[in-house]
Symmetry: C2
Subunit: 105 residues, 2 copies
DNA sequence: CTTATTGTTTGACAACAATCCAACTATGCG
DNA sequence: CGCATAGTTGGATTGTTGTCAAACAATAAG
């Protein structure tokens, strides 16, 4: 099991988080993660309407902004929302964004 | 006194609001409006570090996303945050973003 | 009427971003 | 080992964005 580089909680920048979530494809990925929890990249990218390499690019954007966590397990890569970290850094922000996206919090 | 075209409250899109706020210059403008209320474009753009035409471009981006209101009064144009509209459309969103930006709400 | 003030528009330009495709890497399976 | 699966990377393309400068428009003031 390997971890990939992620920004530390205190290094997460507000405008970068907002930027990451301002793309509809990335927002949809985040919504899926919020609804269904940790999942593999393939599952997260299913029926997303973009090429898998494009999805991969979006995973990186979300990871570098501090929105998601990735961990490699064997052949699979699991991604998940950094809910606790985001809530520690920006209390209430993720919840209000998810509510705005009609995701039950 | 003239009003300029703004999106109706129900037409404000989440990703467009996040996009508008993902630029540091626009975020700073919004912070100023949150702290000091309605102000003219010149006041809002003071010491922003960008050319006035660039600031004007940002006002339009914020207006088209539904984040700010503009009204022309004589030679001056006043801009203000659409707090009530944003709160009606996305409850708690603006507050949590402003809190994240260290603006007292 | 002329001038100063306030802000927008247009053009140019460089940087960035979203996308697809093809090639590649890495891991597990038989 | 050889093959399939899961994802990433690099290149190409196309479009968007942030910026400045210069020209413009509209209004108020002298």
């Amino acid at each position: 099991m390997r971890l990939l580089p992620h920004p530390a909680t205190e290094d997460i920048q507000l405008t970068e988080v907002l930027r990451a979530l301002s793309d509809p494809v990335r927002m949809e990925i985040v919504i899926r993660l919020a609804l269904r929890g940790e999942m593999t990249c393939t599952t997260a990218g299913d029926d997303l309407g973009v090429h898998k390499s494009t999805a991969s690019h979006h995973y990186r954007a979300l990871r570098e902004a501090g929105v998601i966590m990735s961990k490699q397990e064997g052949r699979l890569k699991y991604i998940s929302l950094r809910r606790a970290d985001l809530d520690a850094r920006f209390p209430g922000l993720l919840d209000s964004i998810l509510s705005a996206a009609h995701v039950p919090v």
